[in-house]
């Protein structure tokens, strides 16, 4: 993640920076004594107290065995990690989390298509479309999850009613069927996320300079070719930003499955995500050390994936 910082003053450039004014210099003009402390001191203090301290405490706990309430700690070395890696639930939780994240990532190209349509020059009702696609982002996730749960209901859910109307016999019980349940939850996650993606991408599209297309048209490139060779490359910074955000969010999947797949659901054990596993250990099984170890594993996985993404971006993200 240090990559972000190491980028040093240079804006993560974007289609916007293609315009002449966006060309900016390296380096930071101000470098004076104690001023940075004044500007970030309070924030970093708060972050240290409310975030670093819990993380450090968590790291320490992951090497300990405590009583159910965190008391009476005993150092146990890597025992919690060993136990975690022997837990058959871990593999499934990783698969589930990755599957969810991948489905959410599929939302990025989908959002590119939607925003490309919305931003078509001359299209009417742009503002209305933007608003409509943005709305799910505003919703209280807990509350809309309940609506989706009803839509997915195997007996009286609207989705199955429509399918029956289309002569589909025996439509599935969406949230009670292995794999399908997780996919259904992911579709809900996708619905929640698409609005943010579309807004980000729309602005990326708007800032692509018209001249590029005009020049391309003169060269005889139209339609798909322009899309492929101008639009997509110039959108890559926005796409990259969304990829990072989506991945971090995907790895923290908890609320959606917790709200939609209740404990008594027969597929619940097979839909657990990494964070759900953490919750189980720390809050249900009262195994604080084990829970702490999972939290550290999640942190490590996200960090690794993010670093890989930052290394990989050099191959495909175009900063003009």
């Amino acid at each position: 993640m240090t990559e972000v910082g190491a980028r040093d003053g240079r804006a993560v450039p974007s289609p916007g920076s293609a315009s002449p004014s966006g060309r900016r210099r390296r380096g930071s003009p101000t470098s004076v004594g104690a001023w940075p402390v004044a500007f970030i001191g309070l924030l970093m203090l708060g972050v240290a107290v409310f975030y670093y301290w819990p993380i450090v405490k968590n790291l320490i706990t992951s090497f300990q065995q405590t009583n159910a309430f965190g008391g009476d700690p005993q150092f146990v070395g890597f025992d919690n990690y060993t136990a975690l890696f022997q837990d058959p639930g871990l593999g499934r939780a990783i698969v589930n989390t990755v599957l969810y994240t991948v489905i959410l990532l599929l939302g990025v190209p989908l959002s590119v298509a939607i925003s490309a349509m919305i931003e078509l020059k001359g299209l009417r009702f742009k503002g209305l479309y933007r608003t409509v696609y943005f709305m799910p982002y505003l919703a209280m996730p807990m509350a809309v999850a309940q609506v989706w749960k009803i839509l997915y209901n195997g007996d009286f859910g609207l989705i199955n009613q429509v399918l029956k109307g289309l002569r589909v016999s025996n439509p599935p019980y969406w949230l009670v069927t292995p794999w399908l349940a997780l996919i259904s939850v992911s579709v809900f996650g996708l619905w929640c996320a698409i609005g943010f993606n579309v807004i980000i991408l729309s602005s990326g599209l708007k800032s692509i300079p018209v001249e590029l297309y005009e020049a391309a048209s003169i060269d005889g490139a139209t339609g798909l070719k322009q899309f492929r060779w101008i639009t997509v490359p110039l959108l890559t910074p926005s796409i990259f930003f969304l990829t990072i955000m989506t991945t971090i969010g995907g790895f923290q999947l908890f609320d959606a499955i917790y709200a939609m797949i209740s404990r008594g659901n027969p597929v619940e054990p097979q839909t657990r995500s990494l964070v759900r596993l953490f919750y189980q250990q720390a809050f249900v099984d009262s195994n604080q050390g084990g829970g702490a170890a999972i939290a550290i594993v999640i942190l490590a996985m996200v960090a690794v994936v993010t670093v890989i993404q930052f290394i990989g971006q050099k191959k495909w993200v175009n900063y003009v």
Partner: protein, 290 residues
């Protein structure tokens, strides 16, 4: 914008010719279909909130209720101290948003424009807090808030949320997009870094401020686990917790639940629609520069 995509999409969709308005019809059809998917759950939620449990669970379900059951909304008031919780939500949302705007814009500016040792590492470390699941901060944060004696107070609910890595990230992107020349001019005029920041740069990042504001408002309004843990009295809970409590109790009273969540979500939608343009602009800018 050129007609690149227009041509392309139009051709993909309809093989029609050039610039007539008709070529947009397939695009409209696709966008409307997608838009219905986006909006339908909300419409259905409102319809259910005015229906009855047995109509919702009927096979096939009645989409339009036989009679409009406004009583569902009345019973939310009788089951929740709605106004109390509504004000708590407003209070914590305003507090978080104002403080975040100040802290994040200052830090964002420093990370964008000040040169100091360890800046990159520090910024990376700051963003790292996004990678840890929120649930694992719970107990540690609780103990801090408790030792500060802030349990049960709005300050206890809002304090950890003041320090937002994502907010700093957004503001940093905003400041980086401003031309360096502005600052140089300010400095030549004898401004110190604070004056440069406050008088020259800050007014120029309004879109980013909006982006931070909207994300904070949304997150604060919908935040559940943390306020649930630090508040115990029903009157000091925000609406999100009130709704969750109600849901725990009446999970299968669908009509009541839908009425309650409609009421909890309405303020955000009203706020959004009243400042829609700036919100979208702000968010758009944030992502763009990121």
């Amino acid at each position: 914008m050129s007609d690149f995509t227009t041509a392309e999409i139009a051709r993909m969709a309809s093989k029609q010719g050039h610039t007539s308005q008709r070529r947009f019809i397939p695009v409209h059809v696709l966008l409307i279909l997608g838009g219905l998917c986006m909006v339908f759950p909300f419409v259905y939620q409102i319809l259910m909130s005015l229906s009855t449990n047995s109509q919702i669970q009927a096979v096939p379900p009645r989409l339009i209720p036989k009679s409009w059951e406004w009583g569902n909304y009345a019973s939310v008031f009788s089951k929740l101290p709605f106004m109390h919780q509504f004000w708590v939500s407003i209070e914590i949302t305003v507090m978080r948003t104002v403080v975040q705007l100040v802290l994040c814009s200052m830090a964002g500016y420093a990370f964008a424009r000040m040169r100091f040792k360890g800046r990159g590492v520090l910024f990376g470390l700051l963003l790292a807090i996004l990678m840890v699941p929120g649930q694992s901060y719970l107990i540690g944060q609780y103990q801090v808030v408790q030792s500060l004696g802030l349990l049960e107070t709005p300050w206890g609910i809002v304090l950890p949320g003041f320090f937002s890595a994502f907010g700093v990230f957004l503001m940093r992107q905003g400041f980086m997009s401003l031309p360096v020349e502005l600052e140089e001019a300010a400095r030549l005029d004898g401004c110190n870094p604070w004056q440069t920041f406050w008088r020259v740069m800050f007014p120029l990042v309004t879109p980013s401020l909006f982006a931070v504001a909207i994300t904070t408002v949304l997150w604060s309004w919908n935040d559940l686990l943390w306020p649930l843990v630090v508040t115990t009295r029903e009157e000091s809970m925000p609406l999100s917790v009130g709704i969750a409590t109600l849901a725990g109790q009446h999970a299968s009273d669908y009509a009541l639940m839908m009425a309650a969540s409609t009421m909890a979500m309405a303020p955000i939608f009203i706020l959004f629609f009243s400042m829609q343009k700036r919100v979208i602009e702000g968010l758009a800018t944030s992502g763009l520069k990121g």
